[in-house]
Amino acid sequence: MAQLNIRNLTVKFATATGSFTVVDGIDLHVDPGEVLAIVGESGSGKSVSMLAVMGLLPDTATVTADEMTYDGRDLLRMSRSERRKLIGREITMIFQEPIASLNPSFTAGFQIEEVLRLNMGMSRKQARVRALELFTAVGIPQPEEKLKSYPHQMSGGQSQRVMIAMAIASNPRLLIADEPTTALDVTIQKQILDLLMKLQEDYGMALILITHDMGVVAETADRVVVQYKGRKMEEADVLSLFESPKSAYTRALLSALPEHATGERLPTVSEIFLREDAE
């Protein structure tokens, strides 16, 4: 059975000029222990559909779906307190800007110990020991020192490692990573992706990776969903997607990669997409 199952998810935002559909009838599922990549450009609704799962959308958003279940449990009709037991424990999320995700006024150690005390019901002492273990597990150098550091004293890569440590603190079954490496340098990106894949394999959790970067998809995903303007364009396992993309949009995206440039000019997405659309 799928760990997370979504059918016909629609998210509308109420704006001054009327309702605006950001996610338009998306079907999506993740199996246990699987890495699913959701790819799309800005405005494709890739983050919004996952924020809907997490219940993190503002009040102006209307979320409807034929089905939105986690482990067979209905996320839409769940009470607030039930949802709170799930979100942040069994399903956790990390975001694009690691430095902005941490509170600048508290040490990294305080923030992760807070997660452990509130979510896992640990005592201060237990939390301190476990925090050190987690910092070591995510490869933070001098973990004991770093527990006492404030976010501004850490680099972007280190802050993202702290976020990952907080996200895996409760042994989640599903981790949602929203553009986890976009703000980072390539060598650091590689380290963070390797870490996420290692943790995913070690803990056997499912991972949803939201990204705009086809290179990241190629290096991590088992299965890929391509979104464009709130709609699902294509769903395929990673090899078929790169080998024989079915939708015109995916083909356009792949040929717009500079590394695939064959001639003098890069084909642009709109050119190819419109041409194939017209045919």
Partner: protein, 286 residues
């Protein structure tokens, strides 16, 4: 006399940049050497890509070349003439030769300035072009970068990221520069828009015989646009050479590490990874 083609449009000799880090009540100020003696030359119509990660000094170098900051040591030559902005303020002629495009098209345009005024401002400051001609040239430039003359009276917030970057490029071209310094011009843009802007830059380079300094962290973009490549690490040029040479056979360990870390969309690599994961999974279930 040497041929005009032999004179580099821009040349740097042993460029050094030091920054003073202010001290606090108890600690003295500290000097940080952001650039440790960099040499390069770029001929007309060519593109030099400067590659590096954050803290490598690539933006420091870009600011020196764009005549924004003077180097602490070393010499910068534009069209064979030494330029020292710490002693002589560069005149309108020199300013017209070198123009810059910044990374963030949301931050580099004044939100209260209409696009037409954005484009005409360099002419107002640096030339004596009459108002009517300024307007004509701005409208012509809008079309050149793929926008419409009716965009003239609109404000930056009415444009998408890609369109704003086109406006920033148009502004840089208003003074008919010889050298364009592009600091990560496409890294804030979506893949589809990135391809459009890269094509535009290639077209403009052909049309105006422009010389580009292209600062980037993205090796796939560099491979597409550059003639020569310089890899910066911690303020030092660890590798310099033609695009073909650097990409075919990187010499320095740092360049090799950079290549190894860049994600590839190569089918064989994906196939190998899928196979590895399958085997790992089978081992776990056994």
């Amino acid at each position: 006399m040497s041929d005009a083609k032999d004179i580099a449009v821009v040349e740097g000799r042993a460029l050094v940049q030091d920054y003073q880090m202010p001290g606090s009540l108890f600690t003295g100020s500290k000097q940080v050497r952001a650039l440790k003696g960099v040499d390069f030359r770029v001929a007309q119509g060519k593109t030099l890509a400067i590659v590096g990660e954050s803290g490598s000094g690539k933006s420091t170098l870009a600011r020196i070349i764009a005549l924004i900051d003077p180097p602490s040591e070393g010499e910068l030559l534009i069209d064979g003439q030494p330029v020292d902005i710490s002693r002589h303020r560069p005149g309108p002629e020199m300013r017209s030769k070198v123009q810059m495009v910044f990374q963030n098209p949301y931050g580099s345009l004044n939100p209260r300035q209409k696009i037409g005024d954005v484009l005409m401002e360099p002419l107002v400051i640096n030339t004596r072009t009459p108002a009517a001609e300024r307007r004509d040239r701005a409208e012509a430039m809008l079309q050149k970068v793929g926008l419409q003359p009716e965009h003239f009276n609109r404000y930056p917030h009415m444009f998408s990221g890609g369109q704003r970057q086109r406006i920033a490029i148009a502004r840089a071209l208003m003074l008919n520069p010889r050298l364009l310094v592009l600091d990560e011009p496409v890294s804030a843009l979506d893949l589809s828009v990135q391809a459009q802007v890269l094509n535009l830059l290639a077209d403009l380079q052909d049309e105006f015989d422009l010389t580009y300094i292209f600062v980037s962290h993205d090796l796939s973009v560099v491979r597409y646009i550059a003639d020569d490549v310089m890899v910066l690490s911690k303020g030092e040029a660890v590798e310099q050479g033609s695009r073909e040479a650097v990409f075919a056979d990187p010499q320095h360990p740092y360049t090799q590490a950079l290549f190894a870390a860049t994600p590839v969309t190569d089918l064989d690599a994906i196939r190998a990874r899928v196979q590895r994961r399958k085997e790992a999974r089978e081992r776990q279930t056994v």
